[in-house]
Every structure is written in C-alpha cells, then in structure tokens.
C-alpha cells in the first residue's frame, strides 16, 4: 500500500503548493512507541477501506514557523490560529491521501480534525495497530507526520 511513499508525496505537495515552504522528508522512524517531544499536534481519523488516524506533530518553534508561513504573519505563541492552521494541514494531508488511495480503488472518509497542545504529552497507538512516522525537515528543525492504521 506504500503508506510512507504516499505520505511523503502528499505532504510535500501540500507544503509546496499551499504553504509555500520547502520541506524534505527524512527516513521513516522505527515503528512503535516514540516520544516525539512535541508541543502542538493535530489529528484526524480516516475510515473506509481501512481505519486510520493521521497526525502532524510539531515542536513549538516549528508549529509557529509553519502556521506563520501558512497565514502570512508572525506568530509568537501557540494560539487558536496555530491550532486551526495545523488542523487544516492535517485535513489537507488526509484529503491528499484519500485521493491517492481512491486511485487504487480504496475509498476513505475523513472525520474532523482535533488539536492537541501542551507542555508535555505523549501519543500512543494501540499495540495492535501499524504505525508509520515520517520526519520532515524545514529550516528551523523537524516535524512529524504520523499514520496509524489497521487493515481491518
């Protein structure tokens, strides 16, 4: 199903065309429980041909840089604009994946995005699920796109 390849292509496309930011994908992280050290995340559920949860996880400075670029303004703290921007990115990446899977006759529907923010939190997936985490680099550092899935 080439999850990693689809995630990289979709994320690069969204960042290039919607946020006008150059990003480069790094090697996927080992599967399993990883503490990503992030302060702002947005997650969205996908379901249909398989069930999944897609997330974007950013350290604070990266979340500010990405949402600032997307909204075209300086942002100094994680506020409602940052949460909305990351939720919109999660939504767009999930939508891009939906299109790519639809081309292979795998239909998916999207749920609604949710933001998670805070000084310290970890996100775990069920021990029975599969998980792909791709780090992406921008000038200021790394963020992560994560997809957990079960092929039903």
């Amino acid at each position: 199903m080439e999850f990693a390849k689809k995630i990289v292509e979709t994320t690069e496309e969204i960042f290039n065309t919607m946020i006008f930011m150059e990003i480069s994908a790094d090697a996927p992280l080992e599967q399993g429980k990883q503490a990503l050290g992030c302060h702002i995340s947005a997650m969205i559920g996908l379901t249909g041909g398989f069930s999944a949860m897609l997330g974007i996880h950013c350290p604070e400075a990266i979340g500010l840089a990405i949402s600032g670029a997307m909204l075209g303004m300086e942002i100094e703290e994680i506020d409602a604009d940052v949460k909305d921007a990351l939720g919109e990115i999660a939504n767009m990446v999930a939508g891009g994946l939906k299109e790519r899977f639809a081309a292979e006759n795998i239909d998916l529907e999207l749920a609604i995005p949710t933001a998670i923010s805070g000084k310290s939190y970890t996100i775990a997936s069920s021990t029975r699920s599969n998980r792909v985490i791709i780090p992406f680099s921008i000038e200021q550092g790394q963020f992560f796109i994560e997809m957990k899935y079960n092929l039903n």
């Binding site: 429980k33 947005a42 997650m43 969205i44 559920g45 996908l46 379901t47 249909g48 069930s51 999944a52 949860m53 997330g55 409602a80 949460k83 909305d84 939720g87 529907e109 999207l110 749920a111 609604i112 995005p113 949710t114 933001a115 998670i116 923010s117 805070g118 000084k119 310290s120 939190y121 970890t122 996100i123 775990a124 997936s125 069920s126 021990t127 029975r128 699920s129 957990k148 899935y149 079960n150």
Partner: protein
Amino acid sequence: MKYAQDIADATQDIFSSMVMLDVTPEEPFKRVDSQLVNSISGIIGLAGTTKGMLAIHLPDKAALAITTAFLGMDVEEIDEDVCDAVGELANMLGGSMKTILDPGGSDVQLSMPSTIHGEEYAIDCLADAELVTVPFSFNGQTFMVELQISQSN
C-alpha cells in the same frame, strides 16, 4: 443538550457490562479552553454522512482504577495496557454513538482510536462542530465523555 442523554446511556451501559463499574452521569456542559492535567484521553473519529470525534478524558487515577476493573488485574502506572484499555473504551463508546447517529449501520464509520497522555495538555475541537461533554463519577472519581459532531457537509 443534544446527544447528552445518548452519551450518558451508552457510557453507563458499557461501564456496567464491560468494566463492571457503576458510573453516574452529571450535568452536561461545553468544555472549552480548558487544560487536562495528569490525564489520559482516548479519541476516535467518526466519518461518513456525519463527521465527528468522540473522546474520553480520564485523570490518571481514574484511568488506573478503570483499567484495573476492565482487565481484572492491578495496574499501577500509565503503561501500554492502560493506553490500550482507554483506546478500547473510546472504540466502544464510538461504536455506541455510531448506532445512534446511523441506525442503518452503513453511513457512519469509526476511525482508529488514539490515546494522549500528559501532565498538562489541551484537546480542542477545530471544525465548526457541536460539542457536548458529559462528566461521570464513580467511587469518588470522575471522568468525561465528549462528542463533537460537525453538521456542515
């Protein structure tokens, strides 16, 4: 509030039949701009003709007590078992809400659950969605079950 009674009924059912705990629903409210402290949350997406997100938010102590009752073994820290149990609770609650939102059974589907654990974090609804939060109490402890439903399509 719309769905508050459904959430109360579904949660009481699941807890009494699967976790063997009697839980009491309290007054529903809209939880906005509030931080969750030393807590664990299970979230699951609903997609299809109705889109939404169901969440259960548990203070660590409540999560340990519930997992102990659910798995029938003592758990003393938030570990993989607790995360799996909370994800499974979100999954079961999502399943109950799905049957209420979609009695025919073909129009709404559940995504995969995910769990969030931390000392201090916020979980915010982003979409233009209706939000209802129902608090529950048991044995002097509390937790919340929350539903966001997007009416736009």
